[in-house]
């Protein structure tokens, strides 16, 4: 299967933060969720894909083309939806559309009108007068109307009510019925991913923790519940995070068989949700 997006050894250095060794691959026709705590580097990765910031090292290929060397060709095929979009706030929607449409050879005006009607977009209203959900839908309408093959969404569901969220996710699922299209979306609301994503890429503190098909995540990661013996030195390498509860100790592992070998009975092993993984791995970190 061809890759919609392929990132290798991506690196970006800031004064107080380094994004490093990021490599993952988004297969065409799939949805990938990009998760991680605030400040982990998700938005940085997305900005690097769009070349809004310059990378320090590594490669980014979109449909096989380097995203800098072929910037125009790449951007013509990307649709971008952002939680806090860079917008000229007091322009009416229809003006924004008129300003942007000519840049895309594949612009489909009829499709845009149809989507506007479906989404209930008030085209005469100014961007800043819209509710958050409608702002997201507008961006999505723009992206779909130029037949974007790769949709990149940065926290699109944050701040949306569950109704809007589900609608948006349903719409994304519809979009990839067309197998040429792919979606990358970063989010905090991990429950959205559990229902929609095909694969999950987890970023923590500037590094890649894993990039796996969703089912594999479920099979590999687990929360082990037991007593204080889980904290034994001999088991150190097996666990990625600990929590103390009133009932005992919980520990996160990505290697259940090894844990079972190391410890005898009396173990309760639960599948770890993505939220669990994020919370366990953040132990002791000073989050932003």
């Amino acid at each position: 299967m061809d890759a919609a997006l392929e990132i290798q050894g991506l690196r970006k250095e800031y004064k107080k933060f380094i994004l490093k060794d990021i490599s993952f691959r988004l297969d065409q026709g799939t949805i990938m969720g990009l998760v991680g705590p605030n400040g982990a580097g998700k938005t940085t990765i997305i900005k690097l894909i769009l070349n809004m910031i310059r990378r320090s090292a590594g490669t980014i290929e979109v449909f096989g083309l380097d995203n800098i060397a072929h910037e125009k060709a790449v951007k013509a095929r990307i649709g971008f939806v952002h939680e806090t979009p860079a917008m000229v706030e007091d322009a009416p929607l229809k003006n924004i559309k008129t300003a942007l449409a000519p840049f895309y050879g594949s612009w489909d005006e009829r499709l845009f009108r149809r989507l506007s009607a479906e989404f209930g977009l008030p085209l005469d209203k100014k961007f800043k007068a819209l509710s958050h959900g409608i702002k997201m839908k507008f961006q999505l309408a723009l992206a779909l109307s130029h037949d974007a093959d790769l949709l990149v969404l940065d926290e699109p569901t944050s701040g949306l009510d569950p109704v809007f969220r589900r609608e948006l996710l349903e719409r994304l699922s519809d979009v990839i019925q067309d197998e040429r299209k792919s979606v990358l979306f970063s989010t905090h609301i991990t429950s959205d991913l559990e229902s929609t994503a095909d694969s999950i890429t987890f970023i923590n503190r500037g590094e890649l923790v894993f990039s796996l098909p969703k089912d594999e995540v479920r099979e590999t990661w687990a929360v082990v519940k037991g007593g204080p013996e889980l904290g034994n030195d001999s088991l150190r390498g097996l666990f990625k995070g600990f929590r103390e509860t009133p009932y005992g100790v919980e520990a996160l592992t990505s290697d259940v068989p090894a844990v079972r070998r190391a410890l005898s009975g009396g173990l309760v092993v639960d599948k770890a949700s993505i939220e669990d993984i994020m919370i366990f791995m953040d132990q002791g970190a000073s989050h932003v």
Partner: protein, 221 residues
Amino acid sequence: MFKFVLKDFFLHKKYILSLGILYPLYVGWFGSRLHNPTVYALIAAFMYMIVALFPYTREDKLKAVGLSLSLPATRREIILGRFLTSWTLMIGLWILGTAVALFIPGGKLGASKLLGLGTILTILAYMTAFLAAFMPLVVRFGMVGIMIFLVAMQVLGIVAMLLRARIRNLKVIIGSVGRGVAAAQEALGPAVAAAAVLIVLLIVNYASFELSAFLFKRKDY
């Protein structure tokens, strides 16, 4: 490339239209009260340049540059688009302003002065000077850059006034553009002068473009 002009126009339509009416009116009226075509050219160029750069200082303030960056266009093209839009606006405004100046009764500068080759070249020269100076500043520092520059100019002006002896020098510097154009006309005759001046202006614009594109390319958003 015209799509860039269209984009900026539609994104900032309200502002462009309202400023686009106010400023020419003001300059036109003001211009009709002046004797000196060079001073008129200076003021007109300055005011129109402000309108021309307005979309970009706004975008910087609103952090809306990201919008242009998500479009299939290179950063170089985006800057070229800015220059195109700026010139389109400035020329358009200048036409309007001149019309106002011509039709307001009691104007001191007649048609011959307003539409004379010397005046035209002088205005273009001042426009070039301002745009070339400010565009890289806006790209690099945004709105803040312009503010700093203007404040610095004010300070210089005050200092100059305090050191009265310098005032004449200031006038000399500012007037040099106008005199340069006049001198060229005298020396080379109108047609050649026009060509020479235009070539010089083109080169200055191009230099500013290259600098702006360079600065823009290096910026992280």
